[in-house]
C-alpha cells in the first residue's frame, strides 16, 4: 500500500487494521478500532481507525495518543469523514497524521486536503499519482477550513 502525503511525498507501508483479539506489535502502521482491548492499556497502539458513523465529538479516548488516525470513505460519494476530519483537526486539535482510506478519487483531493487530511492510503503508485494531480486543482477557496487558512472575508480586508 502507498501512503501519499499532502507534500507529495510517498512511502510504501504495511497498513494493518488489527482484529479485536490481535495484540499490537508496535509496528508503525497498525491501527485498532474503538472496540479493541488495547485501548484500555496505558501504552497506545500506533493508530486508530474510525468508521464514518462515529461521532468524533464524543470520543472517550484522547486522539492525541495516536500517531495516526485512519478515516474511511466506503464510497467517494459518502462524505461523512470530511466532517470527522475537520472536527478532529480543528476542534480537537489533532496534530498527528490524519489518513484517508477507502474510495478516493483525484476529484476529491483538494477537498480532502482542506478538511485536514494530510495523508492518503492508496492501493498502488498509479492511484497515488492520480490523487496527487488533484491537490492543485484549486489555488483559491472561500472557506477557512484547514488549520491555517483565513476565510475570504478576512483575506479581502487584509
Amino acid at each position: 500500500m502507498i501512503l501519499l502525503r499532502t507534500d507529495g511525498s510517498r512511502e510504501s507501508i504495511n497498513l494493518r487494521v488489527l482484529d479485536a483479539d490481535e495484540a499490537p506489535s508496535g509496528a508503525a502502521w497498525e491501527a485498532v478500532g474503538l472496540d479493541h482491548p488495547a485501548l484500555a492499556e496505558a501504552e497506545s497502539p500506533t493508530g486508530l481507525t474510525l468508521a464514518n458513523d462515529v461521532n468524533v465529538e464524543t470520543l472517550d479516548c484522547d486522539p492525541q495518543r495516536f500517531a495516526f488516525i485512519l478515516l474511511d470513505f466506503p464510497a467517494f460519494t459518502d462524505g461523512r469523514a470530511y466532517s470527522q476530519a475537520r472536527v478532529l483537526s480543528e476542534q480537537l486539535g489533532y496534530q498527528g497524521t490524519l489518513v484517508a482510506g477507502g474510495e478516493l478519487l483525484q476529484d476529491q483531493a483538494h477537498y480532502l486536503k482542506r478538511c485536514g487530511f494530510n495523508a492518503f492510503a492508496l492501493a498502488d503508485a498509479e492511484a497515488a499519482d492520480r490523487l496527487a494531480q488533484g491537490f492543485n486543482d484549486f489555488t483559491a477557496a472561500y472557506q477557512a477550513t484547514s488549520r491555517h487558512e483565513l476565510p475570504v472575508y478576512r483575506r479581502r480586508r487584509a
Binding site: 465529538e57 459518502d78 462524505g79 470530511y82 478519487l105 476529491q108 476565510p151 478576512r154 480586508r157
Partner: protein, 548 residues
Amino acid sequence: MYQYDAIDQTIVDERVRQFRDQTQRFLRGELTEDQYRPLRLQNGLYIQRFAPMLRVAIPYGVLSTTQVRMLAHIARTYDRGYGHFTTRQNIQYNWPKLESVPDILEDLASVEMHAIQTSGNCIRNTTSDQYAGVASDELEDPRAYCEIIRQWSSLHPEFAYLPRKFKIAVTASKTDRAAIRVHDIGLHLIENDHGERGFAVYVGGGLGRTPVIGVKIRDFLAPTDLLSYLEAILRVYNRLGRRDNKYKARIKILVRESGAERFTDWVEAEWAKIRTGSLELGVDDIQQMQAYFEPPAYAATEDSAEIDTQAAQNPAFGRWLKHNVIAHKQAGYRIVTVSLKDPNEAPGDCTAEQMERVADLADEYGFGEVRTTHEQNLILPDVPHAALFNVWSALDELGLATANHGTISDMIACPGLDFCSLANAGSIGVAREINDLFADLDEQYDLGEIKLKMSGCMNGCGHHSVGHIGILGVDKKGEEWYQIMLGGSAAEDATLGQRLGASVSKHDIAPAVRKIVDRYAELREGEELFVDTVNRLGIAPFREAVYG
C-alpha cells in the same frame, strides 16, 4: 450587484479547467459512468431524455445585462436558440453536446457565471425574493446575505457529498416571495423587539415525494452568526442524515425522525463550538458585502401624468399596467414582470432574441440588471414610471407582455415528459390545454390570484404540493395520468395542498381544472380569493365538481 474579484474569478476559472479534465477523462474511458455522474451533476450536467441538460446558476436570480446576453449567446451557439428558466431562478439548456459543455462553462466564466452545484448532493444555488433591493415592503436588501452564503457554500470542502441535495432560501419581506418554508433552510430577516435585525431560521422544508413545511428552530439569529449557524446545521446533517435510502435522505426526514427539538439541540451544541471562530462575520465584513448592493443612482423623478391617457387609449397596456407592474421603493420607478407565460409557449421558455431585447430594455430603462423569479418569469427591476409605455410596447412585440401575472395562466410547470427523463407525464401540453380553456384574460382577472403549479413527477420541480391548484403527473400502466391537489401555499402561510381524489386521465385534466374554477366562481363570496374559498369550504365541493 456583486462583482467578482481575483479570488472569485480564480475559483470559477479553475473549476472550468477541472471540469474539462473530468469530461475528457470520462470520454477517454478513464472515469466510469458511475464515477463521472456525481462529478458532472455537481456542475449541473444531466443526461436527459434526448440530450444532456445543463443547468446554469443564477445566484439569487440576479443578472447583469452582460450576463443575459451571454445566456442568449449560449442558447444560440450551443443549443437550439432558447433556454428554460426554472423554479429555482436558474436557467437550463436542453440540447447542448457533452463535448461542448466545458466551452460553455468557459464562456460563462468570462462573465462571472458558472454551473457550480446546480445539481448533485450538495448545497445548491441560494434563492431569494425576486424583488430584493427594490421591493416597497422589505426590511432590508437580503442579497448581501445571499452572496455571503453563495461564497461560503461554493466548493465547500466538507459539504460536497451530503446525503442529498440542500437548498437555502432567504427573504426580507413580510410577504414571502421566496417560498422559504419549502426549503431545507429558510432564512427570514426580521426585526426583534429591541429593533435589532436578524434571521428567523426554518429547517426541514421541502417538496418532492414527501412534501414538508419547514419548522422554525430559532427565532432570532444575529447576522454575524449566520455562517457559523449554517455550518452547524450542515454538519449535523452530514453526520446524521440518512444515506441508506435516497427517498429518506433529505434533512426533512432527519428533523422528522429525530424530532425538531432534539435536532435543534444538536445544532445549538455544534454551534456553540464554532460560533466564535473564523466563521463569525464582522459587522464590517457584512458592510463590505452590502456596499455591492447599494441602490443605483435613481433620478429624482415623479410619476408621469401621461400614463393614464396612454392606458385609456390602449386597453392592452392598461391591463398590463395593472397586472405586471408593481410598486417600487423609489418614487417614480416601478418593478415590471416580463411574462414568460405566453399561452402558446412552454412556461419559463425564452428565446435568445427575447433575452437580448430584455437586456437592451434593462440598459435603456434601468441600471443594467434583470432578475429571474421562482415563478419562471423575468423582472425589470428599475423602470422609470414615464417609460412604462415604451417598455410595454417593446415587450408586447416580443411576446413578453402577456398581462397575466398572478392569474391562473401564470402557471409554474416543470419541463415534464418532453425533456425530463424522470417524468411520468407531460406538463407543457397540459399547460397549453388549460390556457385554451382560460383564453379570456378578463375572466382570469375576475378570478383573481390562482397559483397553478404542475410537476411531471413526484420530484416536484414544479412545486405542485404548494399550488393553490397543484397537478402531479403519475404513471398508470404506461399512460400519463394526473393527480390534483387543492389549497396549497408557498407563501408566509405555507401549507401543503390536499389531494382531491383519484388521478384523472390526460384527456380529463384540463377540463377538471375548468370545473374546479367554475365551482369556485359559484361559491366565492364577493372578492374572495380562490385559496380562501378552498380554505373556507374544504375540498368537498370541488371533489364533487370533478368526480360528480
